[in-house]
């Protein structure tokens, strides 16, 4: 779906944000891009939808180089939800906000209406359809931004720091929603610092540091390797930290989930003391 081939990127200010990144994201995958502030995560995902084009190397989307596609063509396939919804929202009502892109993509009026209703329902925004996005709470504005992207049904959805400012319940709703989207075949890419959220979703994790990819694999492997984690300013999930403190008892450390943790501990206690 997205093929990144030895991409380098230097901002006009001279900052070299990407230093030779290669990465394949297959259709239907769920990927979390993690790493410290300034590691190049957002710069990388902006290459996917052509907001930025490589200084060297290339990015292929469905086998076509992003150099040969306009941002509009790419946006049709790849929806981008910004970290701060206020960078994205501008319309006077929630309804217009969602309809805007659909109109731009030239959807016929009856399709537009159907999609609008669908997106409003999906993100529980129907009661706000006539409300100004700026009257809504931060969490609600984030849902509007997401609805306006999902409405045109892109194959890939990129979410930049979706959990910032969200409380526990909103995060849980977001998690279920992402998992469901992904199960229905959508490719989902999230950029995040939120280790506990990643531990709960368990996607493929791509870890970046200083403009390069330093690790790539399933969440469990990456988040529980304290050497890898440290290089990218990641702190292992709380459950893993507990087990890292018990290694001398012969317990495993590759555990990120509460129920798995409890299972391992119960087995240890039942199976006689080692």
């Amino acid at each position: 779906m997205i093929e990144v081939k030895d991409v380098h990127f230097t901002y006009p200010t001279g900052v070299e944000a990407l230093k030779g990144v290669s990465l394949n994201i297959r259709n239907g995958e769920f990927v979390a891009i993690m790493g410290q502030n300034g590691a190049g995560k957002t710069t990388l995902v902006k290459q996917f939808n052509g907001l930025l084009k490589p200084t060297k190397g290339e990015v292929l989307v469905d086998d076509v180089s992003t150099r040969n596609m306009s941002i509009a063509q790419l946006a049709r396939k790849i929806g981008f939800v910004f970290q701060n919804p206020d960078h994205q929202l501008f319309s006077e009502t929630v309804e217009e906000e969602i309809a805007f892109a659909l109109r731009n993509f030239g959807f016929k009026e009856h399709t537009l209406k159907r999609r609008l209703t669908w997106a409003l329902n999906l993100l529980e925004l129907t009661e706000y359809r006539k409300t100004s996005p700026f009257m809504l709470s931060g969490g609600e504005r984030k849902r509007v931004a997401l609805a306006s992207v999902l409405a045109w049904n892109p194959k890939v959805v990129i979410l930049d720091e979706p959990t910032i400012g969200q409380d526990h319940r909103q995060k849980e709703i977001l998690r279920q929603f992402i998992v469901q989207m992904n199960a229905q075949g959508k490719t989902v890419v999230i950029v995040t610092h939120d280790v506990e959220f990643v531990a709960e979703c368990s996607p493929r994790v791509v870890l970046m540091a200083q403009g390069q990819i330093v690790a790539d694999g399933d969440a469990k492997r990456i988040l529980t390797d304290s050497n890898i984690a440290l290089r990218a300013s990641i702190v292992p999930p709380q459950i893993t930290q507990i087990f890292l403190g018990l290694t001398d008892l012969g317990l495993p450390t590759d555990i990120i989930d509460v129920s798995e943790a409890s299972k391992v501990l119960l087995e240890y206690l039942e199976g006689g003391k080692h």
Binding site: N37, I164, P237, I242, L246, L249
Partner: protein, 281 residues
């Protein structure tokens, strides 16, 4: 000794149809490290705005009940007076920093108070040292990383030598290691200098180990108020939907399977210690 005391505090923003906080009665002791949490819109930020007088002096609106901070009735003292006692650090340091150098940013509040020059220099040096950013003093704040910026924001509040510091989700924009370092700085201010800390936070896994008092709000009211291990382990906390630390959740699962640990852990260190005792016997 109580440093913050509210009795039946109720506040309604101008033009709002219902109060944002209702009947809040809360005592915070001097030197405590308090985590204030609860669902979005529960009134956490509104309550914090009362502590330094932004409510009612800046936001106007309707305030009822009693509110005493550092022995002063907030309603009778203007913001500039309360601001010297209660410092506020926000989620996004970019909204707080504006000067051309770190040093100037940290000195700004003191200049406004008319602090003498030699005293100002002393306090700026001290604040930079406490937050570990002495080497950044000549740098422009906007060129710094998010974590460094947040330290500058903390230093500029600290330089005012407040008795109480309120942090409103200070690490949301930081990577986990950066966040941990900020929590350590905050913890140092609390433990070494005795600053009373009120930390508004959703990510309890990271913050719970520093706190000795947790307050959970829901729908404008105080829902739970007490020691971390009691609060995180209560049925009410689960029902309100706050992010109970994984260490506590694990303990609960083990309880259900009749594995007894001495006390409910709220962080990984405690959990490791308690588990070790059970696993070894």
């Amino acid at each position: 000794m109580a440093i913050i005391e509210t009795k039946n505090l109720t506040y309604t923003y101008p033009g709002a149809t219902k109060p944002s906080i209702r009947d809040v009665s809360l005592t915070i002791e001097k030197g405590e490290f308090v985590i204030l949490t609860g669902p979005s819109g529960c009134g956490k930020t509104t309550l914090c705005r009362c502590f330094n007088g932004l409510i009612p002096h800046f936001y106007a609106g309707q305030i009822e009940g009693e509110l005493t901070v550092t022995g002063l009735k907030v309603i009778e003292h203007p913001i500039y007076e309360m601001a010297q006692r209660v410092g506020l650090v926000f989620q996004n340091p970019e909204n707080q920093l504006f000067a051309l150098s770190v040093e100037k940013d940290v000195a700004f509040g003191l200049e406004n108070l008319g602090v003498r020059r030699d005293e100002m220099r002393k306090r700026v040096d001290w604040a930079l040292q406490m937050t570990g950013i002495e080497e950044l003093r000549e740098r422009a704040p906007h060129e710094l990383s998010g974590g460094q910026q947040q330290r500058v924001a903390i230093a500029s509040v600290l330089a005012m030598q407040p008795d109480i510091m309120v942090f409103d989700e200070p690490t949301s924009f930081l990577d986990p290691l950066g966040a941990q370092k900020i929590f350590e700085v905050i913890n140092d201010l609390n433990k070494k200098l005795g600053v009373t800390v009120i930390l508004v936070e959703h990510r309890l896994d990271l913050a719970s180990k520093y706190a000795d008092h947790v307050v959970i709000m829901d729908d404008g009211k105080i829902a739970l108020n007490g020691k971390p291990s009691e609060i995180f382990n209560s049925e009410t906390a689960r029902l309100i939907g706050v992010g109970i630390p994984k260490a506590t959740l694990l303990w609960q699962l083990l309880q259900e399977n009749r594995i007894k640990l001495e006390g409910a852990p709220t962080n990984s260190e405690e959990a490791t210690r308690l588990l070790r005792e059970v696993l070894k016997t």
